[in-house]
């Protein structure tokens, strides 16, 4: 990222242009329906946040260099070039006001996958030196130290000792030949260590052979947030190396949205080959354990609960039914938000937005959408499956003085788990 220049940015845009991008830009008739699906527009009424408009730099490069009419216009001197000043103006649009939640991609009448193109446009922004400083430094920490929050294995080791002493559960680390290698997000290590304890409790009961990897425990990937495939590749490679060294059959993505996108969907394409292990989201694995009768629950809560679908897991990841079946395992009073599953509204902090201080004020405004959605359900407990969504929602609710306890779904399953003392660890 050292010699970021406009030319490198433009080259990155060029590299990103493929048949879907060309089909999408060719099809846009500027109808503006995408704005109505975007929480950054609906909560501000500022038309500059219209999703398709966020792609104007990429669109110009496509039009001027990849279409006959654009080439003619350029030759005649009618083309408006992409400049440094333009990219500076577009920082707010491509980073602060987009979580790549892909809700706009679901409503576009001509079928444009706008989030797909925002991810691509960020490559050009990062290469031209226009990615947000906070997220760039997080990426630096992720590459050098091993996690975007600067957490080293030592910190995790300390948490593991804590958990083992408190709960009596055993947390396996670096076990070669285990079936499953669990990944974590730094937020879980620091803010929600209950997640690790819950995994230990559930896997012990279900007889799942699992391990953490001391060299590759961090699942988050700042590279895909800023739009740097180089960084993203290094971070995925670390996990692949860890999984191959321990010869595991499965890697488990944690309760973190973009980590799932990164390791499940982008990873093989970043490293240029398929994995020799499979990737499951923790909710998919828990649902499998439920279906095969390996885990059961008891003392279901009658508290009114609702579930916030993390965009990357539901709309962008297809993990939609599993969390609902798991909610029914812990609650007799599960209520859906009006727009849920693939139609959920983002918490406002995905895609690197929560790590970007420039975006904070806007993010809190956009959060009103989620706040209203939660209020409509009348729920007493909000459940989700992403540590980042959880922190963003907790902060948002605090900002608007709403009292609402939150819980991770894996922890809830662990709390209600039927524990058979005869199970061997």
């Amino acid at each position: 990222m050292s010699e970021a220049t406009l030319e490198r940015g433009l080259n990155a845009f060029r590299e990103q242009i493929d048949a879907p991008v060309a089909a999408f830009f060719s099809s846009c008739v500027s109808c503006g329906m995408c704005a109505e699906a975007c929480l950054f527009y609906t909560e501000t009424n500022d038309p500059k946040y219209t999703p398709i408009r966020k792609l104007e730099p990429l669109r110009r490069v496509w039009e001027q260099e990849y279409t006959i009419s654009g080439k003619i216009k350029k030759a005649l001197g009618f083309a408006r070039p992409v400049t440094d000043a333009m990219l500076v103006e577009w920082r707010e649009l491509l980073y602060d006001s987009c979580t790549m939640c892909a809700r706009c991609s679901m409503v576009c009448p001509v079928g444009n996958d706008i989030a797909y193109m925002v991810r691509k446009a960020r490559e050009g922004m990062a290469a031209s030196g226009n990615a947000p400083a906070d997220v760039i430094s997080a990426a630096g920490r992720a590459v050098k130290i091993g996690s975007p929050m600067g957490i080293k294995y030592k910190a995790l080791e300390a948490q593991i000792k804590h958990i083992e002493a408190d709960s009596g559960e055993k947390i396996p680390v670096d076990v070669e030949g285990a079936d499953y290698m669990a990944l974590l997000s730094s937020m879980e290590v620091i803010n929600f260590p209950e997640y690790i304890q819950s995994l230990a409790k559930i896997f012990k009961q279900a007889g799942v052979s699992w391990t953490l990897c001391s060299e590759a425990f961090e699942a988050t990937n700042t590279g895909i947030q800023i739009g740097s495939s180089d960084i993203a590749r290094q971070l995925v490679q670390r996990i692949v190396d860890g999984a191959e060294k321990l010869k595991v059959k499965y890697v488990i993505a944690p309760e973190c949205g973009h980590a799932y996108t990164s390791i499940r969907w982008d990873g093989p394409n970043l490293i240029g080959r398929p994995y020799n292990f499979r990737v499951l989201h923790i909710l998919e694995l828990l649902d499998e354990l439920r279906a095969s009768g390996k885990i059961r629950t008891e003392n279901l809560s009658d508290e009114r609960m609702t579930f916030h679908d993390p965009c990357s897991i539901a709309r962008k990841g297809g993990v939609i039914e599993s969390p609902r079946r798991l909610m029914d395992m812990v609650s007799t009073n599960f209520v859906e938000m009006k727009d849920h599953g693939k139609w959920n509204w983002c918490c406002g902090g995905g895609g690197g937005v929560s790590a970007n201080t420039d975006a904070e004020e806007l993010r809190l405004k956009a959060f009103r959408r989620k706040k209203e959605q939660i209020a409509e359900t009348g729920a007493e407990l909000l459940v989700t499956a992403c540590a980042n969504c959880r922190l963003v929602i907790e902060e948002g609710l605090e900002e608007y003085n709403v009292e609402m306890p939150m819980e991770g779904l894996t922890e809830l399953v662990a709390q209600h788990l039927v524990v058979d003392e005869n199970v061997e660890a």
Binding site: A23, M33, G111, D113
Partner: protein, 220 residues
């Protein structure tokens, strides 16, 4: 009268052939331009298939999601009204079908003239409504470029001149009919190089969207 007849014959003859040729070749080149860019082979293990969900999205995107419809009903209703009015006038007016038959060698049944007439009026009203919306809606205003007005005009003129010609509202008749044909030729010539291409590319766009999401196990 003779001059207007000459004009009509020219518009109906050479000009028409040239316009159709530019349209057909232009559309093919533009589609090739898009598809030839290709896309990277996806190495991630799929959760669902691509082809079926892609085809499904081509159909399902024709209807709006309820939430965005409630927020912007005019975009949706105006869009439906003018597209249907336009398509009915274009493809189901009997003289048009006869022209298609003469040009391409095949035909299909048409609708009675009064119905097509009503459709043309709806098309005109719908186009005026979406233009007004484009001029006043803040989101559309910020997105709109000169090309959006150009393609609006290219679409509007054939409907307007067709209506004027059908009702003999401009004299001499060969002149207005010639203008009508000329307006269509303008549409045909500029079609491949403007947003009018969405007529064809939206099938690609919807398919890619449905396929890429379908692969991840999401119906889009």
């Amino acid at each position: 009268m003779n001059e207007s007849m000459d004009f009509l014959l020219w518009a109906r003859g050479t000009a028409f052939d040239v316009a159709v040729a530019i349209f057909v070749i232009g559309v093919i080149i533009r589609l090739f331009e898009i598809v030839s860019l290709g896309r990277a082979n996806n190495l991630a293990e799929p959760k669902g298939s691509e082809f079926g969900p892609g085809m499904k999205t081509i159909v399902t995107r024709t209807l709006p999601e309820a939430g965005v419809f409630k927020r912007q009903p005019l975009t949706v209703i105006g869009g439906y009204v003018f597209h249907f009015g336009l398509l009915i006038s274009l493809f189901l007016f009997i003289p048009h079908i006869e022209l298609f038959a003469a040009t391409f060698g095949f035909s299909w049944p048409g609708l009675p003239n009064p119905i097509v007439d009503a459709a043309a009026v709806l098309g005109i009203v719908g186009l005026l409504a979406v233009l007004w919306h484009r001029l006043t809606n803040p989101v559309m205003k910020i997105l709109t470029e000169k090309e959006d007005y150009l393609v609006w005009l290219l679409t509007f003129l054939p409907l307007l001149t067709g209506y004027l010609a059908y009702h003999r509202l401009v004299n001499p008749y060969p002149f207005i009919l010639g203008l009508h044909i000329l307006s269509v030729e303008l549409l045909l010539v500029l079609f491949p190089f403007t947003k009018l291409m969405h007529t064809f590319t939206l099938f690609l766009a919807r398919w890619y969207n449905g396929a890429m999401n379908g692969r991840r196990g999401v119906e889009s």
